[in-house]
Symmetry: C2
Subunit: 343 residues, 2 copies
Amino acid sequence: MATLKDVAAKANVDVSTVSRALNNTSYVHPETKARIIAAAKDLGYRPNTATRSLRRGRRKIIGYVVPRTHVALFSEILRGVDSKARELGYSVMICITDDNPQKEEACLNQLREGNVDGIILTPTGKNTRLIRDIHACGIAIVQIIRRQDHLLSSIVADNESCGYESVKYLYNLGSRTIGLINGSNLLAPYAERYIGYRRALEEFHLQEIVAASEKPTNSFSFGYECATRLLKNYPSLDAIMAAVDIQGLGVIRAVKDFGKKIPDDIKVMSMTGHTIGKMLETTMTSMEIPASEMGSAAVDMLIAEIEAPSEDKPRACHKLFRTSLTERESTVCSHASGNVHSD
Amino acid sequence: MATLKDVAAKANVDVSTVSRALNNTSYVHPETKARIIAAAKDLGYRPNTATRSLRRGRRKIIGYVVPRTHVALFSEILRGVDSKARELGYSVMICITDDNPQKEEACLNQLREGNVDGIILTPTGKNTRLIRDIHACGIAIVQIIRRQDHLLSSIVADNESCGYESVKYLYNLGSRTIGLINGSNLLAPYAERYIGYRRALEEFHLQEIVAASEKPTNSFSFGYECATRLLKNYPSLDAIMAAVDIQGLGVIRAVKDFGKKIPDDIKVMSMTGHTIGKMLETTMTSMEIPASEMGSAAVDMLIAEIEAPSEDKPRACHKLFRTSLTERESTVCSHASGNVHSD
DNA sequence: CTGAAAGCGCTTACAG
DNA sequence: CTGAAAGCGCTTACAG
């Protein structure tokens, strides 16, 4: 790789002049500049951002720490993060934690040592201390999906109202025995959805029926098993709300195997809709979450913090995104499948 | 952030000694060493990998350039890449191209300027020249899934045999009119699958029925529309092979909407199985591809090239992974749904 | 308008 | 066993 020095030699000027010419950082005689640009082009010169950042103090890299990427929600967020970051001249370093706090710790340390300018993360619920430490070192942080620490910025969905509205929606369709398949109450989004669910139950005088676990719940099999259990234990069950899409797939399959009809016997919906719901044999009603927008908003928020002069860093900033109901066949009798052609 | 200098001051030694002590790079008096380690710990010293690499010449970063991540195949590869890279002390910079050559070009330049040590990519089919240039600059390259350039290393699936075996499998089940929904022949995997499909057709004396396009095909709607068309045009159609899972979902839905039964009237299978096939209302037979293993193999291959002494860089290295048939309900009449509980 | 110099944080021959 | 010095590739006051 050609370096600044090579260009300088070729153009017969000092490296500092080359730097100025190429960065438009101060006036350089047009003729000199032309010579420099020609030389740079000739040699295929490409600035070395790594070392540039050494002087400038910024790496133009952000880290994205995510539990998993094969769940549509997170891969959509990643898509938003990636494209917004590139648009603003930043690169994205990715770290997958599998929701394992030890891996999360390793990821966070790796990012810190790699000198990223900021980190977007969906935290596991642990490592709060480490995350604050890193923030205290001057690395910007934005939490996404899960707000674990109110002192750090965050971008989350309106989970409580999502839980409430889901019950209300099913109630209005006539459901009276509504089961909730949820995740660990130690993770904010699940806890919040549960609160919304509870609030609606009280308002409508319904019975609480919850299947949840502190072990991993973000899976087809968890949805399948919980749904099967609820169907057995509550003969009057007429609706199931799943916290996430992938559980919803398990629920649909379980209802089928149990010999009941969707939506006539059992209505099914997901509270974190993304991508998959409209591509099924029985399409699934869900509260859709604007994942990609949330990802790009996180980048905006993060970079605002990164680029703020260090005297007046913004305080923690919290942004809420609304989820929106999309009705599909799992709750309403199949009319024309209008949604089927898009993806 | 504390720097080496701070630690040196605190421990009352030269920075070079601190460097040696912390890196175990030459003998340091145990007492001195202890003092240094204590000081480093006290100050919460963390090495700055960015600048370290300036001296060492290695960044310990690899780039991963991928068309999209919401397709299970690619997110599984990413999972393999991420975990293997971290295991070996490397970080992963991700770039999503959307299969758009211009975006790919921007990604590649960004990675080159960011001084990554190597790049794993699923190329769009263009930018061959740029990719070679980057390789010529000393950046290692491994192609994954699509082998666009035989001069560069690659990790791909045995697509031709996958196409052949799929037809043979369906033929043995009794199918005689087998449609193929494919992608652009300009992309190697699709072209290869087509060749395998053709070879089998000739062997079994079957009619060729193909739906493909050079526009994006990796979607539910493409699968849906092609399947609908084939069902209309070929009344004797009794099987459909989709190149990828997501097309397969569209096919399943189209067959249902068309009023035919799976698998009795129409057998359906996907040639790039991953994750989703077993989570459906009608589970889908597919040729499963070991995506995560391929991702981690790509990292091994890449890092071998990166860390080889520059005198004897390995020549291009090509590795083929076998796909394996997994039978599910879309081709065989539903017996016990044994597969349903895992994910 | 442009050169010479210092320095970002680290590593590594070179002395001693 | 450890210090002093040079240097990785770049940027940026400081002179002139």
